[in-house]
């Protein structure tokens, strides 16, 4: 079993995410409402509630989860959280930490020309804004 470690480093990471997102993660009760309503949860490697827990504990390995890149900011969790937390803002903060280190999830050069041609600009602009820097 993995031991939970709390120290200066974990606290700093938690504070960084809170500052970027503007959300107070200590408010999370771990009720799981966010995970229950998430339309993408089946595809995620950790659930939104688990993502919240990791941030609360300052576990930086949350940045390696695919969940960040699957959350499409549909805001279903946002409107349902009984503590009025915005999980989509937490996910955005985590994506931004990666993107500001120039670690992208989407490289437009990887998309074949036929695919690019077919995709509407609304999809391309949104994806590039959220998934690349």
């Amino acid at each position: 079993m993995k031991k939970i470690v709390l120290n200066e480093k974990t606290l700093e990471f938690q504070r960084k995410v809170e500052e970027l997102s503007g959300e107070n993660t200590a408010m999370c009760d771990q009720c799981g409402t966010c995970s229950g309503g998430c339309p993408f949860v089946e595809e995620m490697d950790i659930t939104p509630a688990q993502l919240m827990r990791k941030v609360m504990l300052g576990q930086e390995d949350v940045l390696e989860c695919d969940t960040l890149w699957i959350c499409a900011t549909c805001n279903t969790c946002t409107v349902r959280c009984p503590r009025k937390l915005d999980v989509s803002k937490i996910a955005e903060a985590l994506r931004q930490i990666k993107l500001r280190d120039e670690i992208n999830n989407l490289d437009i050069d990887d998309l074949p020309k036929e695919v690019l041609k077919e995709l509407p600009q609304i999809a391309l602009i949104a994806a590039l804004r959220k998934l690349s820097s």
Binding site: E19, L20, S21, G22, P39, F40, E43, W69, I70, A72, T73, C74, N75, T76, T78, V79, D86, S88, K89, E92, A93, Q96, N105, L106, L111, E118, L119, P120, Q121, I122, A123, L124, I125, A126, A127, R129, K130, L131
Partner: protein, 299 residues
């Protein structure tokens, strides 16, 4: 009514039937869309990190254009900015709200755009066409219907951006009724179905196409299972995922039965008796004409 209208990227290209049908329907109701001069892309998605002001520039710059239109009396509405695309509406509304709530951030943005003749003052109200129609009165619209859509079962698809988050949604986030009321005003039947607020996968259609295919298949099959003839949307990205992606769904699931996905304005234009050639179905992949011919035009 002459209202400043923000089109956004998709309405001029692959969502052109959406724009054409909206403008044509508006004209027949006395709502004139005055396109904002020199508008720029809103950025499609809202930037959610607290320190990222840069991405609110594009929405605010469009708002300055609207203030200029008001000064030049190009429009006669009071501080309104009209959108059709759900994503544009959401992004513009969220930026507007941020500017209204944070005077310091508004000042930073205005300072950055010091070459603009006007400063933005947070006075605008970004509205969606459905809201304008609601304020016009669905009863009034019902009176103007020339081709009642009797017998047509329409599944209203809200998706995300029209109703979430609460502070920018055009109706209740969990129990919206605006689309249902709109559909009823055209004498069509609004289908009650659970997927009406389920995300279509949005921009993951670029990076994780398979997730979108799985999700949209569930949504489309739910509409069919509840007896829908057509689905209506107000988002060009939802339309792409729900309509264009049916070709891939069909390849992967041979038993899948396609269902037409229309913009709500196309139904409005039909009901108002407008000539289909004026707005057309150029962008709709799954052909809606067979069911419309059968149920409405009785051909």
């Amino acid at each position: 009514m002459k209202i400043p209208y923000f089109p956004g990227c998709s309405l001029k290209t692959y969502g052109s039937s959406f724009e054409k049908s909206a403008i044509a329907s508006g004209a027949s109701l006395g709502i004139e869309f005055v396109e904002i001069p020199r508008w720029n892309c809103c950025g499609v998605v809202s930037s959610l990190t607290s320190d990222d002001l840069m991405h609110h520039l594009a929405p605010v710059r469009n708002m300055i254009r609207v203030l200029e239109m008001q000064d030049e009396k190009m429009v006669d509405t009071d501080n309104k900015m009209l959108t059709l695309c759900s994503m544009c509406m959401n992004t513009l509304k969220r930026s507007n709200l941020k500017m209204q709530e944070h005077a310091d951030e508004l000042e930073t943005i205005n300072d950055f755009m010091y070459k603009e003749d006007k400063k933005y003052d947070g006075s605008l109200d970004v509205v969606h066409y459905l809201e304008v129609l609601r304020d016009y009165g669905f009863d009034e619209i019902a009176k103007k219907v020339k081709v009642p859509l009797k017998g047509l079962k329409v599944a209203p698809y809200y998706g995300c951006m029209l109703i979430r988050p609460k502070e920018v949604g055009i109706d209740d986030a969990e129990e919206p009724v605006i689309m249902e009321n709109f559909i009823k005003s055209l004498s069509a039947e609004a289908v009650d179905w659970r997927s009406r607020k389920t995300c279509c996968g949005s921009y993951l259609t670029v990076s994780k196409e398979n997730i979108v295919i799985k999700l949209t298949r569930k949504i489309l099959e739910d509409a069919r299972a509840n007896g829908a003839d057509v689905i209506v949307t107000s988002c060009p990205l939802c339309a792409f995922n729900l309509d264009n992606r049916q070709a891939l769904i069909q390849i992967q699931n041979p038993g899948f039965e396609p269902i037409p996905v229309l913009y709500f304005t196309q139904l409005l234009a039909i009901a108002l008796g407008l000539d289909i050639n004026e707005y057309g179905f150029a962008n709709n992949k799954v052909d809606g004409m067979p069911i419309l011919n059968e149920k409405i035009f009785k051909k």
